[in-house]
């Protein structure tokens, strides 16, 4: 079309993430880190820090090497814990999203359930853990139940609020287009809620990691939580720290993993996500319809 007026093309310029690593900053951080670790090492050696509670970093390093390589016992426990984390997380958060959608869909259920939600939300979930064990006995079932419990609420509440808070104007648009209730739900309400659901999932997965530790502290049979407890009771603090750092790494990986997932699923909240999905959809169009004129 030649008779249309030119358009501000700047608005599509995608902001670059601009993370050419700043060497200076990295050096600064590395220096501070090394100084801290050295101070810890020296402090433990000359007795400023109680080596019982603050084992030397070199000892921790040796423990890491032992539990991962020479003795290699951490793998079994890690495997056990992570299995529970994912089972409990998936069960709990899927339940949260499904129930959140159902409750959000019906105003009647919503009104009926609201007081219970408030009461349950105010109750610390972990407090119920011993009851779950009493109910389900020792073993994987009660551990998974505890993790489900801590994973359930964030996705449930977020899904519910995401589903309830639909933009009135968009709703009116759908109504003016003659959309059915089902279409409104699948084409508007649910996708609109996805970013806030994802935020709930992120909280849930972090909670799952704490949940598995609590479960394993209570039932000390296997898993990284029981390993930490055993090491601490035997005053083997270096190995306990080795386990804790393992959890740090897992927590970090979970965070990054969820970021990656959010970028795939709620892509329209990310510049690079939009670019990626947009160009893929353009390729698909070109394949089916040829060059748009």
């Amino acid at each position: 079309m030649s008779n249309t007026i030119d358009i501000d093309k700047n608005s599509t310029a995608i902001k670059s993430r601009g993370s050419a690593l700043n060497i200076n900053r990295v050096l600064k951080h590395a220096t501070i880190f090394i100084v801290l670790v050295l101070a810890w090492e020296i402090g433990s050696r000359i007795g400023w820090l109680d080596p019982l509670f603050f084992p030397k970093p070199t000892d921790i390093l040796a423990s890491i090497f032992r539990i991962y390589v020479t003795q290699g016992n951490v793998w079994f426990h890690l495997y056990a814990s992570l299995g529970l984390v994912f089972a409990g997380f998936i069960a709990g958060s899927v339940l949260g999203v499904v129930l959140g959608s159902l409750v959000g869909f019906s105003a009647v259920i919503r009104r009926f359930i609201k007081p219970y939600v408030i009461v349950l939300e105010a109750t610390p979930r972990i407090a119920v853990a011993p009851l779950l064990i009493a109910l389900l006995g020792f073993g994987a079932a009660s551990k998974i139940a505890i993790i489900m419990l801590v994973c359930f609420f964030a996705p449930f509440i977020n899904t519910l609020s995401g589903v309830i808070n639909v933009n009135e104007e968009k709703l009116e648009l759908f109504e003016s287009l003659g959309a059915s209730k089902f279409q409104i739900f699948t084409k508007l309400v649910l996708p609109d809620a996805i970013p806030v659901i994802m935020a709930g999932e992120r909280l849930a997965l972090t909670a799952a990691l704490s949940g598995v530790l609590v479960a394993e502290f209570i039932q000390r049979d296997q898993g990284i939580g029981s390993l930490i407890l055993t090491y601490t009771r035997n005053l083997n603090m270096a190995s306990a720290f080795a386990c804790i750092f393992t959890l740090t790494l897992i927590g970090f990986l979970i965070f990054r993993g969820m970021e990656w997932l959010d970028n795939r699923i709620a892509f329209w909240n990310h510049d690079d996500g939009m670019t990626r999905v947009g160009s893929r959809s353009k390729q698909r169009w070109l394949k089916q319809h040829g060059e748009p004129q």
């Binding site: 079309m1 008779n3 249309t4 007026i5 358009i7 501000d8 608005s11 599509t12 995608i14 933009n167 104007e169 968009k170 009116e172 648009l173 759908f174 109504e175 003016s176 287009l177 003659g178 959309a179 279409q183 084409k187 508007l188 996708p191 609109d192 996805i194 892509f267 329209w268 939009m274 999905v277 947009g278 160009s279 959809s281 353009k282 169009w285 089916q288 319809h289 748009p292 004129q293």
Partner: protein
Amino acid sequence: MTNAVASDLVESAEQVVAAQGVAKSFSGGSVIALQDANFTVKQGSFVSLVGPSGCGKSTLLRLIAGLIEPTQGHIEVHQTQVKRARQDVAMMFQRATLLEWRTAIENVLLPTEIRRTPSSEDKNRAMELLNLVGLGDFAFSFPAQLSGGMQQRVALARLLQTGADILLLDEPFGALDEFTREKLNLELLRIVSEVKATTIFVTHNISEAIFLADEVYVMTPRPGQIAKIVPVNLQRPRELSVQTSAEFNELVAQVRETLGAL
């Protein structure tokens, strides 16, 4: 119906929207949003609704769109009473209300998708419409990647994709800056004459109302009503410069007088 075919045909070529004694109140009658509206809109004509906020402009559009029902009187579109949202009437809002998770073209295709699985033809039509509003190059951009004016263009293309011949626009460019608004108004005039649509356009800008319209419905508040219908016989196609003509200013004065703002 069968014995009045001839006269129906004549009528359908003439008036596409007709309101008789239409009133709408809310909150059990305590808020009268609109009272005693009577008008007929001719096929292919452009009507502006102008008036201060709260005078029932949006209420009137919603009534025509079948989103709400009148408390009194009745509204006919193409000689049938409006009872619910219908395919020959489509609406556009002050905000673009695009779905952020859909590309521009997917947004344009939404009205089709609600009726059926879009065919190859539907998709090509959507692309044509994006070209018509000047956004052909942005078909695969997401709303967040577009400026406010571009988002309203997508909304306009989506409006046209419905295939409706009656277009209701509720302050569609009201949130945009003056320059973009003028630009889009000109394009709107070109486009609705190209697709031969009947248009009802809400604004609270008097000059804009007159510049666009064949008829200006001047609305006044408390209670909301159509106080006067002002015909606009300015030549088409119109240039922005018509706004400085004596004839135009005479129309402005007439509208202002009705609004009591002179």
